[in-house]
Symmetry: C2
Subunit: 219 residues, 2 copies
DNA sequence: TGCTACACTTTGACTAATCAAAAATAATAC
DNA sequence: GTATTATTTTTGATTAGTCAAAGTGTAGCA
């Protein structure tokens, strides 16, 4: 029923509301996240409210209703299952799948998606380590621990890569920085906001603090 | 570059021009084939001409340019490869794949399509027996021989099913009327415009002339 | 040759999604 | 407590694709 555009709005708002937990999602974030002007976002919010997908308070922000959340969750599921398919089955590169899935997610039906899910063996997370919601919209919570939250010398398991940009993903792949791998924090240079890492038997390398915070780990 | 709508117009016009070979495709056929009003078709033709995808002569009809033909052919390729994937890999039913492919064909990129082609083993035809154009837009010509063009007693190989409707496809599947199977013309009742058929060891059944013309065969 | 019926075109209107730019409001600084 | 800045809303315009309904051409028939 919702258009591809609406699906994108709801997916983005859901993601934003999960990241910055603060009740309402502000207009500005929605506009930048979707790459539209603020005015466009405002007018779209009124439509989405009319359709009961969210509640909108002028100059406050926006909060999804259960039905809006459901649609957003479906879109995340579609996106991540498609990404998994593109890597696992068709052998596309880690870094090129995001944009492909971004388009396909609006075209695939529930019926085909469920077949795909079975074909892939009902995966729990996509190639970047992001959890795949169930059909009913239940999603595993990601650990909050990043590469910065351990002491030097600790060995950690990489859980998830939050940065979606092809450039960073290519870099990460080259360094072995992928979900499932073990990584050791070799050095932590606070003054230079840089850490040094080593993935298994691969060469050491450095990462800035900002980037390091986009890699989630567990012990 | 072309929108999904334009892709659909060009695909339909290409198919119509291959079916009824008569130079120009008339407006009326385009409108019915796309399910739009005649006025809509007329105004769209002017846009498509402006983009050099076809030439349009008022009250005469329309003829694709090479670039328009190329896009149409790409769409047919996408559609048929997707149908093959949906049946072969995901196990969807013969009768439900058309509409799914109709949507997905506008969302799949060339890169993903080529991977899919390789994954499927570069199939030559889709599950209905329709030839799949190559990447360069070369398409095998279908035989023109239908179930009606043989004498009683002849054994023929089913090449292609032209009727796309789920209802007929379900019927055809139940009777074993699928590409690759051998079928024998048991009886031909001209006065009742009906033929009787038997596929391999399955029970005999009847088909009207009109329907029988939508099944292509070879000896 | 002229009339009728059908095929096609024109016109005007509508919807979804967007932008640019002006106006309003809130937040922050001083 | 005003002034400045940042954020958000309004307004008016634009584009692609569509329809309904009125107008125009044309081919066949009598």
């Amino acid at each position: 029923m919702p258009s591809a555009t609406v699906e994108n709005y709801l997916k983005s708002i859901l993601k934003l509301s999960m990241e910055c937990e603060r009740g309402e999602v502000p207009m500005g974030m929605i506009a930048t996240s979707l790459g539209v002007t603020p005015g466009t976002a405002t007018s779209m919010m009124k439509n989405l409210q009319k359709e009961k997908w969210l509640s909108y308070k002028s100059r406050k922000g926006v909060r999804l209703t259960p039905s809006g959340k459901k649609i957003g969750m479906i879109m995340i599921r579609r996106h991540r299952l498609l990404e998994t398919f593109l890597v696992e089955t068709l052998g596309l590169d880690w870094s090129e799948i995001h944009d492909e899935a971004e388009v396909l997610e609006h075209a695939i039906s529930e019926k085909v998606l469920e077949r795909l899910d079975i074909f892939l063996g009902k995966p729990r997370h996509d190639p970047h380590g992001h959890p795949i919601p169930t059909k009913n919209g239940i999603i595993r919570r990601l650990p909050k621990k990043t590469l910065l939250d351990s002491l030097v010398g600790t060995k950690m398991k990489i859980e998830s890569i939050l940065d979606q940009s092809p450039e960073f993903l290519n870099f990460a792949q080259a360094k072995g920085l992928m979900p499932g791998r073990m990584v050791t924090l070799v050095k932590n240079e606070k003054v230079a906001d840089t850490i040094e890492l080593q993935v298994e038997k691969m060469p050491k390398f450095s990462l800035g603090y900002k980037t390091a915070q986009k890699i989630l780990v567990s012990d």
